[in-house]
Amino acid sequence: MDIIIIDGLSFALPLFIMAIGGIYCEKSGVTMLAVEGLQGFGAFAGALAAVAVSGIFAGNSPVPFYIAMVFAVAGGAVFALIHALLCLRFKANQVISGVVVNIMAMAMTAYLTKLLNRVIFGAASDKFVLTVSSKITIPVISRIPVLGAVFTNLYPFELVIVAVAFIAWFIMYRTRFGMHLRACGDNPHAVDAAGRNVNKVRLSAIVICGGLSGLGGICFAYSISANFSSSIYVGYGYLAIAALIFGNWRILPTLGACLLFGFARSGGYRLVQVLQMPSSFQDLVMILPYVLTLLLLVFFSRQNGAPRALGEIYDKGAR
């Protein structure tokens, strides 16, 4: 039981921060399917930074990880500019643009990883090897039965994510900027009339989304795979989008959806272990989050509260 909670949380929280990024972008009225690519590119930038500085610090030092986090956020944000350029400047179809960004991210990170490994580090490898982040246990509270598991064997990034998520929530619902952002998604003309530049607000939303996705990506790279390679693209970005749709574009319900995915996944893995099934059954367990997503969408997509101007290109002259 404890293991299910511990593993579930370490999967759900990176997913959650990516979903928040998606909420920011979609709430501002820009369809965001590029989370997958953004998290991958963010993870690439972070992993590159971590590998580059790893020689300076001792083997178990947590500093490279924090440097990686910063670079992952920056990398994701910069790469998101492509989506912004296509959607805002060139008025491209936002769904297509998102897919283009994903494909670009996969192609570029695969190429660059190989190239940089050869040129800078002199190794023929298609991955950056990272360490698995060390875990911490919070002393007193972790002894509470069942609930204590939440505070046991935490990855440090989980605390960072919770903090960032809270700030993101605060900005979205308690500040003027957040209000403008939400208004851009529902009634961009009103925002324009109020004297705010719609495209600027949307640009910042896309960049925020890129940063948060990058953060999620590097957390996955440090926890699940312990390296950066093309195996980072396993669809968690899309899972995050499903979570935010299921959460009705609101941050707190989305957290619930992410936790559900996380526990379904860790629960399934545990089941395979407990019943001592052959390892090929893990493939069957892997489909759990996806099947769950589809089923939930069947029930919740009907009355979904998508932002009203979602996916529409803002045209000042239109009525």
């Binding site: 670009m104 190429y111 669809g235 969408l297 009907r302």
Partner: protein, 373 residues
């Protein structure tokens, strides 16, 4: 506007996109210290469009070319699948998953059955179409009935297919040596492998004939039939189509079904044509590259032939390029990505061109007006 002029305008933008991407790719290759012209020539050589320096036994430029045709056949089907959905305003990003589902179903039903070649080959096509069509129809149905974004549902299905097929292969059909699914019977393969023709050993792809047929049929559907017209109307504006009395839901499900059937054909022509087995846990990039191909071809069936040949050229030739010009084969997908990036801007470029034409006309009118006074 004259017809020829319009065709030229339609071609101008993709050509521009290709040119930009090749230049961008060339710059990347040059920066990393290789000769871009040699790299691009190696792409042609690898695809049998230019002679190589030397050939192995029983091989020459023609075998390379046939192998290239064999390679791009699935891509034509896949790009048509994307185009049919896009024309109706839907985005089928699940082509890869549908290919896998169709390829796997055909493999276990026909590929392992031991049927004779006359019966097996048509059956493979049929099973592939049915399986792919069913997967596509499911996505369309979910969209129509439950308002589920087709992008999300098809991606979820991609992963579900990938893992379920991987599980089934590893449990029942695995070849212990290759760690892939056991090879399908030669009778069911859509490519006649290593057929001796005039002192050469060639892979003759039969699928390409059906691909050509599919191109014509899709063109016919959209240009000459009522259903095609309705699909296009739904793609242009869902609400306008509804007011015109078109049953939008039916159209969405139908277009996804047709799209899925084409994806199924892509699947069988890959898994039971180009290769003879399925690698577990791997989703092909064909379905995603097909989006680039379709966009580049303006979603026009005949345009798709050319864009398929181009994009496949980059993919197919990249292995040879790596061995001769020393350029990482991953650059191929980077170039494809850049092409995609430029073609995503086509609406903007079209608008820009149109505006420039208008301005020119206006200027001319103003001049004429002055001359008249």
């Amino acid at each position: 506007m004259k017809k020829g002029n319009r065709t030229w305008n339609a071609i101008k933008i993709p050509l521009f996109a290709i040119l930009c991407s090749l230049v961008a790719g060339g710059v990347i290759i040059a920066v990393t210290g290789s000769n871009p012209f040699r790299a691009y020539y190696a792409l042609l050589q690898g695809s049998g469009l230019a002679p190589k320096a030397s050939y192995a036994n029983y091989k020459n430029i023609l075998t390379d070319f046939f192998s290239y045709v064999n390679y791009f056949t699935p891509m034509i089907f896949a790009a048509l699948a994307v185009a049919v959905a896009l024309r109706a305003g839907l985005f089928n990003i699940g082509v890869s998953g549908q290919m896998l589902a169709a390829g796997f179903t055909a493999t276990i039903l026909v590929g392992y059955s031991g049927l004779g070649s006359v019966l097996a080959k048509p059956l493979v096509l049929l099973v592939g179409m049915i399986a792919g069509g069913a997967a596509g129809a499911l996505i369309g149905f979910l969209k129509f009935k439950f308002n589920i974004n087709e992008v999300v549902s098809s991606i979820m299905l991609n992963y579900i297919f990938q893992y379920v097929v991987s599980f089934l292969i590893n449990t029942f059909y695995v070849d212990p040596v290759s760690r892939q699914s056991a090879e399908v019977s030669a009778a069911s393969r859509l490519t006649l492998m290593d057929t001796p023709v005039g002192g050469l050993k060639m892979d003759i792809p039969l699928g390409v004939i059906f691909a050509a047929l599919a191109v014509v049929l899709v063109w016919f559907l959209f240009e000459k039939t009522r259903l095609g017209y309705e699909l296009k109307a739904v793609g242009c504006s869902r609400s306008a189509a509804r007011y015109a009395g078109i049953r939008v839901g039916k159209c969405m499900v139908l277009s996804m079904t047709i799209s899925g059937m084409l994806a199924g054909l892509a699947g069988v022509s890959y898994y039971l044509g180009y290769v003879g087995s399925i690698q577990p846990k791997v989703l092909l990039s064909t379905g995603f590259d097909a989006i680039a191909v379709s966009l580049l071809g303006n979603n026009n069936p005949f345009g798709i032939i050319f864009s398929t040949m181009l994009i496949s050229l980059i993919g197919k030739g990249s292995t040879y390029m790596k061995s001769t010009a020393g350029v990482d084969s991953e650059i191929a997908s980077v170039i494809t990505g850049i092409i995609l990036l430029f073609s995503a801007c086509n609406v903007y470029m079209k608008w820009k061109l149109e505006r420039r034409r208008q301005e020119k006309l206006n200027a001319k009118d103003a001049q004429n007006g002055q001359g008249g006074v």
